[in-house]
Amino acid sequence: MKKWQMWTAAAVVVVVAVGGSRAAGWWGSNPSDDKSTLNYGLAAEVQNLDISKSTDTYSNTILGNTESNFLRVDSKGNPAPDLAKSYTVSSDGLTYTIKLRSGLKWSDGSALTAKDFVYSWQRIADPKTASQYSYLTSGVQNADDIVAGKKPVSDLGVKAEGDNTVVFTLERPMPQFKYLLSFAQFAPQKESFVKKAGSKYGTTSSEQIYSGPYKFEGWNGTNNKFKMVKNDNYWDAKDVKTDTVKWQVIKNPETAIKLYKEGKIDRAAINNSAEMYSANKGNKDVKDSAMAAATYLEYNQAKNPYLANEKIREALNLATNRKDLASQATGGTRDAATGLVSNSLVKAANGQDLAKYVNPGYTYDKAKAKELFAEGLKEVNKGKMNVSLETDADSPISKSTVDYLKQAWESTFGSDISVTEKVVPFKQRLQDSQNGNFDIVVSNWNGDYQDGSTFYDMFKATDTGMNNGQFKNQTYTDAVAKAEGQDANNPSARDADWKAAEAALKNDADINPLYSWKGASLVRSNVKGVVTNPAGLALDLTHAYRK
């Protein structure tokens, strides 16, 4: 080969490579014009579609759109009938009687009956299933004993009466129970299908059967492109206007934004980092969405003598400038916290946002913080306070948060405190939290449903699995017990109880609320009918369509 031939060949290779990529469809027609198809990205792989066992948000998003339950949360945040025709609650709040629509079918055309619901509840409670969500059944008659393996699953307070009626018997009134009736984890499962699939159940899109608006297709368990197609056997198929929803896994949030701008996906979150947020917040497509998630610090009161001292905890709380933290460390991608409960979880009975109603008034007061800290140190009498601050490394924001807190505390208390940051993988943070192997830990909680109890239940005892600081606060416990006992059926009294609980938390400085999450995404303006929920199913595409 002569020199010029070689160069020509090289040039041809380059042209073919670049041109080929353009011709390969990536550069062709704009998918955001195709009316029958919507395109979305997932930030991580789908892990599995076992209704009782899946734990991650992304599998839940797919399940929530391909499986239906009795109810489905509507755009106003109210659980509305889906597979159920109607439901009645007894006056004591202990019995739920649910009538199913007639002629319900699975995606394979077989009949969907009350038995399928009962099986699903029994399966998740069954210790043999080993579901990490079995605790959600708590409150249904005998559920706790069944989960603990002390009673057989047939004792669960969920019974089918005929093919069309399901009756739930509760141990205590639970105003939030209607939300559980919309959870993907409790969606019906067909026993014969589950048994036949055996250990393969939910591991590919064809090892699952669908009761929801869409069927899931093209997922082999590990690939990163798949789709949902309209389920013609869904009872309300006529109102499902989109034929296909294409999904792809996009791990890098910047890539998602790029694909959005190229018209290849219809939604991209912009709040992964402060810089990304400020770069995109001016875009006309930006839409905020509510998220019932909160970040707070837990103080290890059981093991750390300094943190067992109320004055020191109080001082740390007072030295935390939540407004500056939100604007600087998170760059405005989060809102400063006002209490434990996140913003926009649910409206209180008086119409206010619950977080606003219960606001116990956390403040930033450097002078008072210094004073209390000095007193506290004297009481503990062990000299300088060395403390570790643990967080997981899942987003750049969580790193900046601990950097910020360390600097803020050390500049306030000077040489009396030394803060060591401990940034660890998520699972390790969890284990450290559960074993009490930390001093101060940054915890996040995303509410399971739109009711205050999803937050306040966390600390109602020391063994809830969430009270990692192991604190005991009788006023708090009493207030929560009252809300879930005598006030359960009285919304405004219940809200007052939440408020008392929140005040008790602040009084003892048991936690340090940092910020409340919010969603901000680029959203294609010609896509209508998408429902985003602050808790539960994050993205509901049942009635979504492109105009």
């Binding site: 490579a17 670049v18 080929g20 990529s21 390969a24 469809g25 990536w26 991580a44 792989e45 892990q47 599995n48 076992d50 066992k53 734990t55 991650d56 210790p127 043999k128 080993a130 990490q132 605790y135 603990a148 393996g149 250990s199 393969k200 159940y201 939910g202 591991t203 082999n220 368990g221 590990t222 690939n223 990163n224 492109k225 792809q248 896994v249 996009i250 791990k251 890098n252 910047e254 890539t255 790029k258 694909l259 490394a393 660890v424 993988p425 998520f426 699972k427 390790q428 969890l430 284990q431 450290d432 939290s433 559960q434 915890s443 909680w445 966390m458 063994d463 809830t464 699995g465 969430m466």
Partner: protein, 305 residues
């Protein structure tokens, strides 16, 4: 030959067993919980441990694992519940293999070409420039290169897709390039020194005396004889590729085994970490074995013992 291969395979199996054992016991002392849900109470965790057999004595778990492994069962992932590790790895392996192979082929071809140019121009400016470039290629970690390529060609120029796998060949270009630079640089340096040796050898001097010009010399004689030692490079190159591919796959959202490994670490998905480690070790050893055999086949001077 057959005896030699048999012996090597036996050693390979013993080595794998040691790797399995070491990893297994290492896993036991690593921090982290295998469960996702923060809301689990200690009794719930005890319950789950019982279901998954994690409450059994470690030795029992170890022998269970070995027995299952012999049956081709690497266990079930904690993170992707129900998904068997063999499936998770089996479906991702071809993706990684394709990426690795592409990078290796591109890298070696590029290296052969640049190495020959360098040798032909021994000690002049071209050689010097190529020397610096190839050393630079060795010093730049592939994940930094991947980030830069992504930024320049993906985001700024928008020529090539920035993520994904399986839709078009164009998706593979950037990750392949990021991974190919290392092997290309190594090969360039190696070919250069091999070829300089060969060019100084008697038979080349003879060919020169016969009147063959430079390019012909290199193509007819020098290449062939400096190719054989390159085979020995493939083993270490594959080892480096494995390291690089984990991060590069992550950067480009490629559903390969490296991405699986990286994501199983923070989630403490023991069965997947074990499985990927075994597969990695096996891949590396098999590559080294194959290159050893190939070397013996190609080069009559090498005798296998």
């Amino acid at each position: 030959m057959a005896k030699y291969i048999l012996k090597r395979v036996l050693i390979l199996i013993v080595t794998l067993w040691i790797v399995v054992t070491a990893t297994f016991f290492l896993m036991q002392i690593l921090p982290g919980t295998p469960y996702n849900n923060p809301h689990l109470t200690s009794s719930a965790i005890a319950q789950l441990n019982q279901t998954y057999g994690l409450d059994k004595p470690v030795m029992v778990q170890y022998f269970d694992y070995l027995v299952n492994m012999l049956h081709g069962n690497l266990g079930t992932s904690f993170q992707y519940q129900n998904q068997s590790v063999s499936t998770l790895i089996g479906q991702r392996l071809p993706v990684s293999a394709q990426l690795g192979l592409q990078a290796l082929v591109v890298g070696i071809l590029l290296g052969l070409w640049l190495g020959a140019i360098s040798a032909k121009n021994q000690n002049n400016k071209v050689d010097g420039a190529l020397g610096v470039v190839s050393t630079l290629g060795i010093s730049v970690p592939s994940f930094i290169l991947a980030i830069v390529l992504l930024y320049v060609f993906g985001y700024n120029l928008g020529w090539l897709p920035v993520s994904g796998w399986g839709d078009s060949f164009s998706e593979t270009i950037l990750p392949t390039l990021a991974l190919a630079v290392g092997p290309a640089a190594t090969t360039t340096r190696f070919v250069r020194s091999e070829m300089i040796d060969v060019l100084h050898s008697d038979y080349i001097q003879l060919a020169r005396a016969k009147g063959l010009d430079g390019t012909q010399l290199i193509r007819r004689h020098a290449y062939r004889n400096s190719m054989i030692p390159i085979l020995t490079l493939i083993g270490p190159m594959v080892a480096n590729l494995l390291t690089g591919s984990t991060l590069v796959e992550n950067i480009f959202s490629i559903p390969g085994i490296g991405q699986q490994f990286v994501s199983s670490i923070p989630t403490k998905d023991y069965p997947v970490i074990m499985g990927t480690t075994i597969v990695y070790a096996a891949m590396l050893m098999i590559c080294i074995l194959i290159t050893d055999i190939l070397t013996a086949v190609v080069d009559p001077r090498v005798r296998l013992k």
